[in-house]
Symmetry: D3
Subunit: 329 residues, 6 copies
């Protein structure tokens, strides 16, 4: 099995605890980012990190005490201790209709050909997918929104597919959407998008209940010889609200809208106090992952109860095996 990616031998890591049978295990220092890392932050979660320079950089969802959703840049030497800038990112944008900032949340960051691209849920007469790029995590250049509203969880692939930029997204509505499939789209230029393809719908309740209401892409897909490894969240609605867990899928390398395997089991579901309680109880929501192709290690950053950020570890080959072994296709 081949795993694509830059070597990352010093990525954040803890071995699987003794006696643990889980495919992904939680970091002992969780939450890795507390809710009040910034002086006035209400919560820091659903944030994205990438290798950058000799450490890491990221774009962070930091809700303030007005509970406004804003994006902040941050930097870290080890991926565990973070220096998050207290000022929000001010995007540079020369399209007047797009330049007006309303809100932004749940960012993803991906490196493509040496440049860093940020996608996020961007308020433009409703939520849609905002797109920007940066070379330094200081100046961010915002371009056209990828899609019409209403959309969330836009995630770029780390390379062009079929010669075009490729994005997963989850069309949505204006509120606490009670449905949601993952779709795939392509763009020759990051300005115009098309060739929309359906990727996955929620699973039937009787088959895999944790993902029976809606699903959405999580971190940037990881390319392997077995296909694109996608971590994605799924939602179950109990009589007491939504529960967000996440599992994994393998997508075809050339036609990523074709699903090769899809885990019936979840990888992580809310179980720890910081996942069970907070501003939105019972949420584990992955937005980013670091991985080392050599060792197959992966470190997944995930929002916990819409309040803090958690970290979990695993091995990519084991996740791929798990995806196939529990597949519901």
């Amino acid at each position: 099995m081949e795993i694509i990616g830059h070597p990352l031998p010093d990525m954040p890591w803890e071995e699987r605890p003794a006696g643990c049978r889980d495919v992904l295990w939680r970091y002992s220092g969780n939450p890795v980012i507390p809710r009040d890392l910034l002086p006035d932050s209400n919560s820091i979660f659903n944030s994205a990190v990438v290798p950058f320079g000799d450490g890491y950089a990221g774009v962070f969802r930091c809700d303030d005490r007005n509970r406004r959703m804003t994006l902040h840049a941050g930097f870290s030497k080890d991926g565990l201790k973070w220096d998050i800038k207290p000022e929000t990112i001010r995007f540079s944008c020369d399209i007047p209709e797009v330049a007006e900032w309303v809100y932004g949340y749940d960012p993803r960051v991906v490196e493509i050909d040496g440049r860093y691209y940020v996608t996020w849920c961007n308020g433009y007469h409703g939520p849609t997918i905002g797109v920007a790029w940066t070379d330094d995590f200081v100046v961010f250049h915002q371009v056209e929104n990828a899609f019409l509203p209403y959309n969330r969880n836009g995630v770029l692939f780390p390379r062009k597919v079929n010669g075009r930029f490729a994005m997963l997204s989850r069309p949505s509505d204006t509120g606490h959407t009670a449905f949601g499939d993952i779709f795939y789209s392509e763009s020759p230029d990051l300005a115009f998008w098309g060739r929309h393809r359906h990727v996955m719908a929620p699973a039937p309740f009787e088959v895999s209940a944790w993902q029976c209401l809606k699903i959405g892409a999580g971190p940037v897909p990881i390319e392997t010889s077995e296909g694109w490894l996608l971590l994605y969240h799924g939602v179950l609605r109990s009589c007491n609200g939504y529960v967000y867990a996440f599992g994994s899928a393998l997508l075809d390398r050339d036609e990523p809208w074709k699903v090769l395997a899809r885990s019936g089991q979840y990888l992580v579901s809310p179980r720890e106090t910081y996942e069970l309680t907070g501003d939105v109880p019972n949420v584990t929501f992955p937005c980013a992952a670091l991985h080392d192709p050599e060792t197959g290690r992966i470190a997944v950053y995930y929002g916990c109860a819409d309040t803090v950020t958690g970290l979990a570890f695993g091995y990519i080959p084991e996740i791929i095996d798990f995806t196939r072994r529990t597949s519901i296709l």
Copy 2:
């Protein structure tokens, strides 16, 4: 005032009845198309017509007695008596993921540079905007869906704007959507779409209640020296359901997402028995219009109670004047 378009001196027409003060008046032979024109049709409404050859052609929403929504081609000498083909349109499409037919409704047809383009609400894992072209209304070539689901009321402009195809649409959700704004998008090639712009939101209840829940573009916009004349429907939700009426707006010729005037009054609201009762009571829903630039005459085809097709007449200059005079901008 200049009105763009092909001369259409013999278009369907009746003069305003004596004593009538309405800007648009109904055809005395309404419904112009009855629900059972086809042997097995349940209803024929929300249909589109254009000048074609020495008469007219169109794409018709004909729900069958399974109440499946299907599209049929039709032809007419005078725009009043229609020969609708009993077989549904079978679109030719070489994109396997797009070619599978699920359902299609509420078509619009527009001529651009001598070719006829059809847009409709197309079932692809939810409603989105299907696109096809034809030269003869016999063979229809389907291309990529314009947008991700969920979308309805996709309406092409009759010429390229800024060198690109231009479309209005109304992002939506999966059901009887209780919201809806009109957006504008452009495409260099009918395959990839972008440069999405917000055009209009519903009006505040206190300002113009008939359009306070959702709005959507109706017939193909008509170009004039005063701007693009757009007829659009609006919805009010009473305790007994939705009421669909329609009014008018003027859009900037070069930046059509900029609204120059917008009628606070409706042009037509359900008032006749065939509009007040039927499969969905209280619906008047325009999808097409014929006009003659010389005389300024316009004939609007609109669905009535989701059951039959109605026709209404007016003068474009009067509609433009009405739009400005009652404007709520």
Copy 3:
């Protein structure tokens, strides 16, 4: 039996048609006021009339073609043919917070001690009960809103009770309220209100279904030796929306919050085309009544399908008998 009131021998009247067994019967010329009596009116309904001078005057709900709800004064010689002023009433009000007009609908008018008082559903950060008085139906003086929002169907008694102004109303919510009881309140000065008493709740579905969802006072109560005769509307919710019918109750003369009798049967329920179809199908909603104490005749003005105004006739003694005979108390 004594009926209180000014003689009104020439009030609008038609005898009960042959073979008719109904307690109230409809005017053969219904709708007595059509929807388009005013040039730009969308509908005229839920309106109030009183004897005035040698004829009648009234305050009319005339929705315009923006479907904004506005109030207009009107005059009539015979109570059948109406001259409604095309301009909306502009209330004179020296309380800045109250003076700002938002919307007004469903007016009632009552004469108390020679002065005419208007109450209506008045938009003030939500619907509440607006109050004004006039001597001539030309100049209207608006005073404090009677209650906090959210309230509708405020109806003044035609004389002070216990030395204080007395009003029925129906506390409500911000939308298409799915509940509603009738309450009674008193005021020494039309500025401050209190001594709130519960009068009636909706009836159980199994007992009187037409009034099982919500109820509200209709015309100004008529004083008789048997108690106050109150016509009130009731609502049933079917799978296809609300149905508004109306019945009658007798209230204690001194303690009007005590109900002496309450009709289980309705007097009028939607049955005619102009009641069954219109902007809101299936509505018969009484807001005013004229009566002649001598003959016991009553003429009830009621809104039909939220579109036009209907008229129905009856005899007060028969209505009182009906109320007692079918009483569900």
Copy 4:
């Protein structure tokens, strides 16, 4: 083809009108029973008739002007002109918990081995299926409710199946149920029921939309050599409420929970004014049918707009052919 049943050569009948292509056609005298046939009735609909003596008898849903739902017996010489008893049926019942009457509606009547059985939606801490028998339509003996609440549309087969009484029903909830499948149950003694089997679910929207929300059995199934012919209603929910239409199915004679054919098209859907408007617009709801085995004629009684009773005619062989030809199985 063999059709089971008693000869009924003089049953109500009109031939198919010239030019009519419909499988069922409406009676020219519709509504066959008006809403006010009884002095105080609000409506008469969803009623059941059977051959009785030298004419017909029936059990009728007559809502009074309290809009209470009650059952009345009625008799007719020709099946067209009815003498409905003004007093409600008072069931004789020696089970105290069952004897208390709350409400009853939507009756069906069937003759089994010379005795007449009535089933209806019976209020017992919610709607369930009440059961009674009569020999003369004067004295009715009520036995145990067939099922636990919440249930509606209980319809007995006209003979025992597998040596046991057999019933179709539609489990439901407490309100305007938004789901509904048809189930089959058996009983050795009309007291205890079991061997519950699923028969049919609503059809997918894309396949047969008129029956995509819920379905329920209509008249008593008619036995033929081709299977049991079942007419059943289906419901579509538009943005303006439910639409009730009806179609047909063929059930296996020995295992009636097995569906042999099921019409994708409806037989009747609301189209006439008395079906489109009334207390509940857009309802055609069949509860009974008369048929003559010799000629294959069938006369279907169906409720119209929950207000009046309609009648439609057809030929059983044609309906069976239609069922197979349009089958969606």
Copy 5:
């Protein structure tokens, strides 16, 4: 007072803690069964246990990490430490329509005349009551579903009543049902059920709010000289979801649908962290109880937050006294 049952002197037990005034007190080792007792279990709760051999056996709801609901057999020496079989129960069933497994949850187990009967919420075109019996907790024989869908919380009495099997159940709908009464039914043969009687409705909010939305039977009723002691759950809906607590009732021994006393207070309501947080916060849901007639001791197994299993202790005479003392009848 006499308590019926087999002696169980070594049942799980802890005395009431010093200072505790509660009628039921929690086990100090709670949760007695953790969520991950099985390698791949997501949660273990709402499970049933009975004395078996020289120890205990049970049927356990073990949701897997697909969050599918499945049933497992388990055994224990002391009722505290459990050996739950990792494979799901595969029911033996010779009725093809019933044999197909969809899902099963919330089991109850009861011994009647030396044989063990299992009832559970069984997926058969919606939730209904599945029934099976076993002699050894290894082979389980499934028989006909007791009722039509939609039903939950079917609980058999531990002996025949009036010579027939007797069951409590809670008719329901297809989702997170917002209503629910307890009914009683009888069967001569476990195949056909009837003689349905209403037992209890939710209490008025002002009287006993914890049981004001819906109620359902919990463990198998315990026979005493004072009547059947029934523990049952009740639900309150706050703005943040459902809260499940449980109380007690006394039912007539011969006519168990007659309630002799019903606790206004709850016995247990969510208070501990393992009850307040988990997959469904704020749930305490009893499904089984062990008791020793001699000492009057009872040990109640209850699901906690739909995640783990808790245990609580008490004395039956005290519970009966509590039921009467706080009775809301």
Copy 6:
């Protein structure tokens, strides 16, 4: 800056913890009142305290284990340890219609001119504002309800304004109201109320999300030279329910319906376990405050998770500064 009020040098107090940047900080002994302070209490929260004699008195919401909402008097020497009377307050009231107790919750207490006034949410055919006074917290005299239903969070000002009693309240509906503005009303005599003024609506989601669904007054406003300092709660609805936080506003001293400043940030939002979990998770709801004008200290009592009572400390000048600094006006 001048702060009005009686000196309270020995009020409950703890200094701000080292490193704490919060404007309000929590008491280290929280919850200051546990849920089971009374033998049979389910919870004690949303309660009001005032200086009284040489200590403190209060009116407490103590829900019992029926989960009925009741009011109890209580006394304390230090404001931390409370002696709450186990018997509920029995109000003395000579208005028969008002005297009947249904339920009462969320009390506020204020001293005006040496007399103590209690307001609470009082059940009278729905929730409204009950009013009573006491001199000794032993005998309570109930007067007329201030308003018609449906209303909550009625809070009296500590002195007359414009010569009249003044009250804030939040008109509401019959359930878990999803809207809510703060209004202001005046009364000359505590019997009749009027001069209703709108004070504040919820904030736009994009501006201050914690208060975007509804808001309501908390403790009695504190008069200062800068205006009335009002603490008020705000609600955000997540996919998992409501979150109650609280912030602050400054109201004009003479026209208190005019808002001078309004905090965009919250002061306290659920963060501690006793706020995040309980009968209603994620609630911090202030009902009372003690303050010392000299030092500017304030101690805020607030309900936690609708289960226990918390206490938080701060300095009034800092709160005023915070209100202005983060103001969203």
